[in-house]
Assembly symmetry: C2
Homo-oligomer: 127 residues x 2
């Protein structure tokens, strides 16, 4: 199986997000969460989680009569990978170009902007 640990598909990312919030969890619980925002069959969720396990994205341990699944990659690793891919594929490798685009967007709220400024200051302090 190819190593695609860090590049989840859309459906896989949805599952990872639920797990990162609280893990380990059973397929049943994951599916219950997904059902709140999405119409999808139980076996679909199960199948995707099995695929993810085969890819090494998830792992699982038996617990009573069912399995508890947990992620095998840190959230930040995946996030970093997704950002890097976006920077490379759509911003010519320039991270600053991405940030510029992000900040120029009206949808980035005042609150978000202030938060970002705070982060920059934080970084400068530690330099």
């Amino acid at each position: 199986m190819k190593n695609k640990k860090n590049t989840p598909t859309t459906a896989e990312l949805e599952i990872l997000n639920v797990l990162w919030e609280d893990e380990p969890r059973s397929v049943k619980e994951i599916h219950k969460e997904l059902s709140k925002v999405k119409n999808v069959g139980y076996t679909t969720t199960l199948k995707i989680m099995q695929n993810m396990t085969a890819k090494g994205m998830l792992d699982r341990k038996p617990e009573g009569k069912c399995h508890l699944y947990f992620t095998n990659i840190p959230k930040t690793d995946t996030q970093q990978n997704l950002i890097n891919r976006l920077v490379d594929s759509a911003f010519g490798g320039s991270a600053s170009s991405l940030v510029m685009q992000l900040l120029g967007n009206k949808k980035t709220s005042e609150k978000e902007l202030n938060e970002i400024k705070r982060i920059i200051e934080e970084i400068e302090k530690n330099q």
Copy 2:
């Protein structure tokens, strides 16, 4: 045809990037560029560009015996759309969270960091 103008696939984005650099251009020229970094048949490039035209992503005009293609969506619109999707799908809708991840990454060079700081200052001035 569904409106997927702003959400190009990987192969489509590669073509868009070449066009945004200099347009309009013929399939032949686009394919020549792609061939520098990718093994792909001429008719593959052609087909994808035809698909993109059908989706409204590209347009074309006859020029002599061939066609010159040009993009039908601004680069920034597509970039913004891709960022928004990433923010929503992997950062819980928080743009600042994405920036934090980006800045915390060692791969973001000193030069990039300074550039980003400059952008922030620029934004603050205009506030």
